[in-house]
Assembly symmetry: none
Homo-oligomer: 199 residues x 4
DNA sequence: GATGAATGAGGCTTCATTCAT
DNA sequence: GATGAATGAAGCCTCATTCAT
C-alpha cells in the first residue's frame, strides 16, 4: 500500500467513523453530508470521493454492522445441543455486540435503517434468517407448531432490536447480566410464564 | 353546527385521512405538506389553516392512534383472573386494532413516530405502562423476578410493534388467528419452550 | 342614518383604530390584515368590505393624519407678524399634535409611510408646502438667500419628523416644553449659535 | 490568497454590491434574496454561502456605511477651534459622503434601516454620539442650555438624514455647494434667523 | 354586510451534489 | 485525491385576497 493509498484509506475510515457517531445520535435525516465531512475533518467534496451518496455511506455502515452481528450470533454453539445454554449464549452475544458497538446498534435498530431508498430492511434480513432456522425446528418437531415460524421471527427480532437499542442508549440503565437473563428467560419460558406444575 | 363548520370539519378530516394514508406508505420525511394537501384535494395553504405544521398533523395522528389502542388494550378483562385467557385477549385486541387501523399501525410503530421534535416516544409510553404493571406483579410474586420489569416491557413492546407492523403491511401474509396464537404462545411459554416434562 | 349604516360605520371606525394602533407599534410590514381584523373584533373578510386593500387603509390613516396636522399648523398666527412668536407657536402646534396623536405620528413620520406603492410621500408634501412659503420669504427679503428654500424645507421637515417621532415613542423622555423650546431655539438661532456679539 | 479565496471574495463583493444597488432603489422589503443573487449573477443558494440571511447582508451594508460616514465626520478638525469653520467642514464631509455613496445614503437614512430585527437603529447611534458631544459643550457653557442635547441630537440627525437622502436621490437637484451652505447656515444661524441687530 | 375557510403565489432557506482548481 | 465554492431543486410556511354562505 502506497502512502497515497494509506491516506485515502484513512480519510475513508474517518468518514465512516463520523457517519457512525453522527447517525447514531442524530439519525439519518438530521445529519448532512457537510456535517459528516466536517466531523471527519475533510472538505465537503471529499465525501463524494469515497461514497456515491449519503445513502451509500449509511448502507455501508449498516451492512458492516449486520455482518458483524451475524458473525457473532453464528459463532454461538449450536442451539440444538442444549436449548437453555444456546439461548443464553445468543442473548449474551447480542448484548455483547450492543455493548461493543453502541453507535451501530442505534443505527441498525432504528427504523431509519429501512427508510433509505432501495434498501433492504436490516431487521427483515435477520427475521428471514430466524424464520428459516425455525421452520426446520418445527418441521422436525423440536419446536411446537403453535408458534408460527414467520411470526416468531418478527417477534424475536422486534424484541431483540428494541431491548438492545434501548439498553445501548444508556447502558447504565441496567446491568448487562440482567438484560441477558431477562431475554433468556423470556425466550425459554415466555413473558408470562405459568407456574410450574407442582408434582 | 353551521354549514361552514361542517365544511371546515370535513376539510380537516380529509387532511387527517390523507396524512394517515401517505405517512403510512411513505413515511414522515418523504411526504410534503403539498402532497397531503393535494391528496386531500385542497390548496397547499389550507393545510396550515388546520395544523400548525407537518409535525402537528403527525402528532395528532399518533396521539389519536395511541389513545385508541390503549383503550382497546385496557378494555380486556383483568389478566390476573386467568393468565392464559388474559394474554390471549390482549393479543386479540392488539391484532384487531391492527386489522382495523392498518395505516395507523404502520405510523405508530415506525421509528419515525419518535423522530418528531418535542415529542414523546409512543413506544416508550407503552413500555412505561407495561413496566409499571409488571413491577406490581413481580412484587407480589405473580411473576418471576428473573424477568426484569423494564427489560420485559421493552421486549414486549418491541415484539408487539414489529409483529403487528409487519402483519399490517400485508394482512394476507398470515391468518389473523395464527398471529394471535403465536403471540399468545410466546408470551405464555416463550419463543423456545422446553419440552414438557414427560411423566 | 339607519341602524345598518351605523353598524357599518362603527366597523369601519374600529378597523381604522386598530390599524392606527397596530401600524404605530409594529409597522406596516409586520402587521397582517388578519391582525387588524382580529384586533377590531371582526372577521378577516370584513376588512375588504371597507378597504380595497392594506395599502388603502394605511393611506387613509396617513391622509387623515396629514390633514389634521396641516390644519393645526395652518391655524397658527401668521409667522410674518412676529418671527419668534410664530416659530414658537408652530413648534407648539406640532408637539401638541404629537402628544394628542402618538400613534399617528409614528406612522406618519416612519419611512414606511412612503414604502406603499403608488403613494405620495407625506413628508415630501410637507416639504413642498414649506418650500413654497419659504420661496416667498426669500423673494421679499424676509429670509436670507443663503438658505435655499428647497434644502431648508427638507431640513425643517427632517428635523421635525425625527424629533417628534422620537418624542412620541415615549413622551416621558422629555418634558413637552423642552421639546418646544429646543425646536424654537434651533429655528431662530441655529443648532450652533455663535455667541452674541458683546457691545 | 489562493484562487479559490479570490473567487469567493469576488462573489461576496458582488452580492454586497447588488444588495446596495437594489436596497437603495427598492427597499429592504421589496427585494428578495433571489433578486440579489440574480443581480449578482450567482445561484440563489450562493447567497447563503456568504450571508446568514437577508438581514445579515443588510446589516453588513449599513454597518460598513455607518463606519465610513463616522470616519469622515470624525476626521474633520475640531469644531471648538473655529465654530463656523467646523460646522461647514462637517457639512462638507456629510455631503461628500452622500455624493460618493449615493446608494448607501439611501439605505442608511431610510427608516427601514431600523426595521430589521435585533438591530440597532443607525440614526439613533448617530444621535447618541451627537448628544454626548453636545452635553459637554452645554456643560462648559460653549453651547446654550436652551437647546437640550437630546432633542438637539434628534433634530440634527433628522435634518441631516433627510436633506442628504433627498439630495442623493438626484444630485442634479441642487448644486452641492448650496446644500453645504444651507446646512451650515441653518446650524449657525437657524432656519429662521432674526435680522441682525443694526447698531 | 359579515363571515371565515380556502386559495395559491411567493418568499426564505437548506442541502445533496458537482466541478474547476 | 482533496478542496470548497457554487449550484438549484425542493421544502416549509405566510398572508393578501376571494367568495360561497
Amino acid at each position: 500500500m502506497t502512502a497515497g493509498e494509506r491516506t485515502r484509506a484513512t480519510t475513508r475510515a474517518r468518514l465512516l467513523a463520523s457517519g457512525k457517531a453522527l447517525f447514531a445520535t442524530q439519525g439519518l435525516h438530521h445529519i448532512t453530508t457537510h456535517d459528516i465531512a466536517a466531523h471527519a475533518g475533510v472538505a465537503a467534496g471529499t465525501f463524494y470521493n469515497h461514497f456515491r451518496d449519503k445513502a451509500a455511506l449509511f448502507r455501508e455502515i449498516t451492512d458492516e454492522a449486520l455482518a458483524e452481528l451475524t458473525r457473532r450470533l453464528d459463532s454461538v454453539v449450536d442451539v440444538k445441543e442444549d436449548l437453555e445454554k444456546g439461548v443464553r449464549l445468543q442473548a449474551t452475544a447480542l448484548v455483547g455486540f450492543a455493548a461493543d458497538n453502541r453507535d451501530l446498534i442505534r443505527i441498525l435498530f432504528s427504523r431509519e435503517a429501512d427508510a433509505t431508498a432501495v434498501q433492504t430492511d436490516v431487521l427483515q434480513l435477520m427475521a428471514d434468517r430466524s424464520a428459516a432456522v425455525r421452520r426446520e425446528l418445527v418441521a422436525n418437531g423440536t419446536m411446537p407448531a403453535e408458534i408460527d415460524p414467520e411470526v416468531f421471527a418478527q417477534a424475536l427480532i422486534g424484541m431483540w432490536a428494541r431491548v438492545v437499542a434501548w439498553w445501548a442508549e444508556d447502558t447504565s440503565r441496567m446491568p448487562r447480566e440482567v438484560v441477558i437473563e431477562t431475554l433468556t428467560q423470556i425466550q425459554l419460558r415466555g413473558t408470562h410464564p405459568q407456574p410450574k406444575p407442582s408434582i
